[in-house]
């Protein structure tokens, strides 16, 4: 099943043409990696899917992005509902300066009406279990989240997103601040999560793309040059520029 489809997607920062006619389809329960040199528009594409680009003045989009049969670029789109369905994990682990517990239940406190404490407890436990932090942290739930290690913080941020029960997880270089071991463990986590979510990950790390993703898209200067099965993209790319990038001939 295809979860997200982009049709003739163009995006402009003022006059600057940042995404050029992007056509793609992101599969459900698959991990899609987006690779490409710095400044090619990876983050921009990701932020189209939860309309975070709306926060920037002077952004204009054209074309269609269909998530669950709705064109989310339509002006009438309910952004709150969209962002509940399409969660985002950022590059820098960024927990709120609150307790571990309050970080996880933040979404529920915002969205739930008259939330009961035992329901919150349940959500906190389930989300922490999903990111494999429960055993480590179950006795420290009231400690400040800022005291955690970087890896724990990033897992916590993933738990915080999961607690809102999204369908799609957008991850913008989620491992770039982590050491190799932590990176490996977060990658394992992603493989587990893909059974329940559609995952799109932006990464600078080609090995990572090859390791975790089912599909890969290669972007260059705002264009989606190549899109397809990861193995095919890495072993038999159809475009010369993809091959050049993968073999290291671009920055």
């Amino acid at each position: 099943m295809t979860k997200i489809i982009t049709n003739g997607l163009n995006l402009f920062y003022g006059k600057f043409h940042a995404l050029k006619n992007v056509n793609s389809g992101f599969g459900e329960n698959r991990i899609t990696a987006i690779i490409g040199p710095s400044g090619c528009g990876k983050s921009t594409l990701l932020r189209v899917f939860n309309r975070m680009n709306d926060l920037i003045d002077g952004v204009r989009t054209e074309g269609e992005v269909v998530i669950g049969e709705k064109n989310i670029l339509a002006p009438a789109t309910d952004l709150v509902a969209l962002r509940k369905k399409v969660g985002m994990v950022f590059q820098r682990p960024n927990p709120f300066p609150l307790s571990i517990y309050e970080n996880i239940v933040f979404g529920e406190r915002i969205h739930g009406d008259k939330v009961k404490d035992d329901k919150l407890d349940e959500i906190a436990e389930k989300s922490l279990r999903d990111v494999l932090l429960w055993d480590e942290l179950k006795d420290r739930l009231n400690e400040p989240a800022l005291r955690l290690s970087l890896e724990q913080k990033q897992r916590l941020c993933i738990a915080r997103v999961i607690a809102v029960k999204p369908d799609v997880l957008l991850m913008d270089e989620p491992c770039s601040t982590l050491d190799p071991n932590a990176t490996q463990r977060v990658e394992e986590l992603m493989r587990e999560l893909k059974n329940k979510y559609t995952i799109i990950i932006v990464t600078h790390n080609m090995q990572q793309a090859a390791r975790v993703s089912d599909d890969t898209g290669f972007m260059l200067l705002g264009e989606l040059i190549e899109f397809g099965n990861t193995e095919t993209v890495f072993t038999a790319p159809s475009d010369k520029r993809t091959e050049d990038y993968i073999t290291g001939r671009y920055g």
Partner: protein
């Protein structure tokens, strides 16, 4: 040949000297006032009404009056100032209008306090017909400290990292929920600091209350906000210049109480800021 090491030493000495030049007068003021005012301090001085044409007795009505005025000023200025700061930092776009507003606020902070006094007299006392009253005085003081409150609150709000706002919005929170649950709690210490500094300023000013509320001699407590009150700074002015033969220790005692009140508020502001600095880790 010039010796760079020596010129550094000279520069260092000058820097130290200028710093001391700032500290010494402040220290001297505090020491002198404490020295001369302390002998007047006793329970009667703090709790009794002025007697014998303000040459004896206490300053209780003036203390209470100042507390009333400060409370009134803050309950007017804090809500308005905070809402304005939220609007300016979170909602308004950077355009000519908001730039004019910000410029106006900066300039408002520099307006001499006697001008606020005249403004309060014209607007509240005469035009709105509140007369010389706690209401007029509080509103005048409130307007005087609005710029401080708006500016510090705005700075506090803007120092909350943008990434917190982004995350909150990306989790589906509305803009107001983000402000309410994320931005405001993190800006609170800064807002409190500004508020307390404003309080200190409101407590110490004479000119704004001169025409709008302050009573020359009123040895009873007010019944309503439409009454006049005595206030510490004005009382100090009166007993220092208008009433002959007031004992020096009563004058310095009054100054000491006023100084202690203002310094105490500043101390609270410093403590809050310090606590927050230690906690803040982003």
């Amino acid at each position: 040949m010039r010796n760079p090491y020596r010129s550094q030493k000279i520069a260092y000495a000058f820097l130290l000297l200028s710093t001391l030049l700032i500290v010494v007068p402040v220290g001297m003021i505090v020491v002198i006032i404490i020295q001369k005012g302390l002998p007047a301090m006793n329970w009667q001085f703090l709790s009794d009404i002025p007697r014998q044409g303000m040459r004896a007795g206490g300053i209780f009505p003036a203390i209470v009056g100042t507390l009333y005025l400060v409370t009134g000023a803050i309950s007017f200025a804090l809500p308005i100032g905070l809402l304005a700061a939220i609007y300016l930092s979170e909602y308004s776009r950077d355009n000519l209008l908001t730039r004019i507003i910000k410029l106006a606020i900066v300039n408002l902070a520099g307006v001499p306090s006697v001008v606020y006094g005249l403004f309060g007299l014209a607007l509240f006392v005469i035009f709105f017909g509140f007369g010389a009253s706690i209401l007029s005085g509080s509103l005048t003081l409130g307007i005087m400290i609005l710029p401080v409150i708006i500016t510090t609150s705005r700075e506090a709000l803007e120092s909350v990292p943008a990434s917190f706002r982004e995350v909150s919005l990306s989790l589906g929170a509305s803009k107001w929920q983000t402000i309410r649950h994320i931005v405001l709690p993190n800006a609170l210490p800064g807002i409190l600091t500004g508020t307390i500094l404003g309080l200190g300023r409101a407590a110490g000013e004479t000119a704004p209350i001169l025409f709008t509320v302050a009573a020359f001699y009123l040895p009873q407590l007010p019944d309503s906000i439409m009454d006049q009150v005595m206030a510490l700074p004005y009382h100090l002015y009166v007993i220092s210049t208008q009433v002959p033969n007031v004992d020096e220790k009563i004058r310095y005692g009054t100054a000491l109480v006023l100084l202690a009140m203002v310094l105490f508020m500043n101390l609270i502001a410093i403590i809050i800021r310090h606590k927050f600095r230690k906690r803040k880790k982003w």
